[in-house]
């Protein structure tokens, strides 16, 4: 079955630390890749997306993600986190030509200590 795996369910960092959240998927076809973020009390928002082209994608608020096709990975990174980055982060995949439904990972809860 198609699936998306996020490596860590909870991450705690101090402000200014670097962040990397892992995401792997198990599809063999062409994929569209997304990271969504849910801040406390808010709804899911798109952080960044990859459809094609440059595998290094830059999103909002200083986040970036790198698509590595050979590793079926789309890891999220930020060089220096802020307290306001405290949120839950979801990796999601959709299959090109198979409808537009998103398949989500279980999410990673990030807590940044000030």
């Amino acid at each position: 079955a198609q699936s998306v795996s996020q490596h860590n369910h909870h991450v705690i960092l101090s402000e200014a630390a670097s962040l990397e959240l892992g995401c792997n998927y198990s599809y063999g076809g062409t994929v569209n890749l997304f990271w969504y973020v849910q801040y406390p009390g808010q709804h899911l928002q798109l952080l960044l997306k990859y459809f094609s082209g440059d595998p290094l994608v830059k999103g909002i608020k200083g986040f970036e993600a790198e698509f590595i096709k050979s590793k079926f990975s789309f890891n999220l990174r930020k060089p220096s986190v802020q307290w306001s980055d405290t949120a839950e982060y979801f990796c999601a995949v959709s299959l090109l030509g198979r409808g537009n439904k998103l398949v989500f990972g279980a999410g990673t809860i990030l807590r940044v200590k000030s």
Partner: protein, 114 residues
């Protein structure tokens, strides 16, 4: 419109009751999706509409779940004879076309079945 809206935001139902959850997508958005998010999990796809046509209902967990979008805008997700395992957050998302477009999520309806 300002964004995707959902109502009610919270719903408590007794086991066996029928419930109806409403989604107002962003004005003009062709595609509409329903997802179910259980506690501690990522959203899981339920069903997808393109205008008024329900093109994919493969994620609906049982025949107690029914969704409609009769005029191609507002959608209703109905759950008949609710069970405790139906307790979850139900998310609606819309996108502007049927192609590779970003899905914009609503705030969700939190359903608790007692």
């Amino acid at each position: 419109g300002a964004g995707v809206s959902q109502s009610p935001r919270y719903k408590v139902a007794k086991r066996g009751q029928d419930v109806a959850l409403r989604c107002d997508p962003i004005s003009g958005h062709v595609s509409l999706f329903w997802y179910q998010q259980a506690l501690g999990q990522g959203p899981e796809f339920l069903t997808y509409f393109q205008n008024e046509a329900q093109l994919d209902k493969s994620g609906l967990p049982s025949d107690r779940f029914f969704a409609e979008r009769p005029e191609g805008s507002v959608s209703t997700l109905k759950i008949q004879r609710t069970q405790q395992e139906d307790s979850a957050v139900y998310l609606c998302a819309s996108s502007s076309t049927s192609g590779r477009e970003t899905q914009y999520f609503g705030p969700g309806t939190r359903l608790l079945v007692l």
